[in-house]
């Protein structure tokens, strides 16, 4: 399953389970795992949120869906530590006393980016239909769909490139409004979904 983390609109999930009076951390290991991400990033040549997110996204899909949020953080921290040369997989497994699943290797970046801010509030835009390998912050559920720009936000580095390399392409980001019916034929007629999208993800509609 590609893009297992890209969950918007996916079928088959049940009830949202709310825990009353939930603590910030359930167990000391969660607290440590959270900090280890920042520790591993301290040694990484590309210490960006994009690279961190992509490390989580590269987890084995079944492991991703069956492990908790802070196990995702642990797996990303360990993977980034291995990939930056700080630790070896074998020593992790030896110390842990068993298998230590890591993320899959990163894909090569496949996009150039526009580096532009081509759209204005009120413009109708279509989201580029085809996903590419590697990291992206374009949710699948808006791909190929038409929406309206409701905000022009600041320009930011395109994560699709930033996650994979030291190259930076800064371009416009937008708040884009989609009617729920544009996204799904049988959706609520009085609902809209907004996604925040980089310039590269859009084309004029």
């Amino acid at each position: 399953m590609e893009r297992v983390h890209d969950l918007g609109g996916r079928a088959g999930f049940g009830a949202v389970e709310v825990e009353a009076d939930e603590p910030v951390f359930h167990d000391p290991w969660e607290r440590t795992a959270r900090a280890l991400v920042f520790a591993a990033m301290g040694n990484h040549p590309n210490p960006t949120t994009s690279a961190f997110r992509h490390a989580i996204e590269r987890m084995d899909p079944e492991h991703y869906l069956t492990s908790s949020y802070y196990e995702h953080w642990l797996t990303a921290a360990a993977s980034l530590a291995v990939e930056s040369g700080a630790v070896e997989p074998e020593e992790l497994e030896q110390r842990a006393g068993g298998p230590f699943p890591l993320a899959r290797p990163p894909a090569e970046p496949q996009v150039e980016g526009t580096g532009a801010q081509r759209f204005a509030v009120g413009d109708r835009v279509r989201v580029v239909a085809t996903p590419h390998p590697g990291h992206s912050r374009c949710p699948d559920y808006v791909r190929g769909r038409i929406g309206t720009v409701v905000r022009v936000d600041d320009s930011f580095s395109l994560p699709d490139i930033e996650a994979h390399s030291l190259r930076r392409v800064v371009e416009g980001t937008y708040g884009v409004r989609f009617t729920a019916r544009e996204l799904w034929d049988d959706a609520d007629g009085r609902a809209a979904v907004h996604a925040d999208l980089w310039d590269s993800y859009l084309e004029p509609a």
Partner: protein, 198 residues
């Protein structure tokens, strides 16, 4: 080891042991200085949480000019109360009205406005909420105890880029005599995510 044939051949080591292994190795490499784990987390355990956001909301309820600034330049208005920083550098406050109910999600991971709400609850990070809130918001809100009338539009905000969202709930009726501080005590985390009404 069990002989249960459904088991994976390579069951991971217990997560606590994996965390301890990575912590020890990174400590050996000098990447986890003394006090590092506390320094990373302490603020979110002691200082930063939904009470911050509640103060922003209460101020907006009692001060129309602040409310206007909050809706026009959310990041700056929130900074007036001293809140900002990591995961709160680019804020968007969205206002509930009689006609529109707002709700926030991050379908791709778990983006959340840390400076005003703290770290997110588990349900916000788990797959069911992320999958379903964009697809069937009214039904899911009802399941979570938040009934939104059919004639009220639901606006879902998926935090897929750099903006982080905070819902400005409607001020509850019958609260005219309350002070700003008393009003802040009425404001819940869930109302500021948009999965509850006050």
């Amino acid at each position: 080891m069990t002989s249960d044939h459904h088991h994976h051949p390579a069951e991971p080591a217990p997560v606590e042991r994996r965390v301890a292994a990575l912590e020890q190795l990174l400590t050996d490499r000098g990447l986890v200085p003394p006090g590092f784990v506390d320094a990373i987390n302490r603020a979110y355990e002691q200082d930063i949480g939904p009470r911050n956001g509640a103060k922003v909301v209460a101020r907006a309820w009692v001060d129309p000019e602040y409310r206007q600034r909050l809706l026009t330049d959310s990041t700056a208005a929130i900074a007036e109360l001293g809140y900002g920083g990591h995961e709160g550098d680019h804020m968007q406050v969205v206002e509930n009205t009689a006609d529109v109910h707002n709700v926030v999600v991050c379908t791709l991971c778990s983006c959340y406005p840390w400076p005003v709400l703290g770290l997110p609850p588990a349900w916000y990070k788990d797959p069911p909420y992320r999958a379903r809130m964009v697809r069937e918001p009214r039904a899911l809100l009802a399941e979570m105890g938040c009934d939104v009338q059919d004639d009220v539009e639901i606006a879902v905000w998926d935090s897929s880029a750099e903006q982080r969202y905070l819902v400005l709930p409607q001020r509850p009726p019958g609260t005219d005599g309350l002070s700003e501080q008393e009003l802040a005590e009425l404001v819940t985390r869930d109302a500021m995510i948009g999965v509850a009404r006050l």
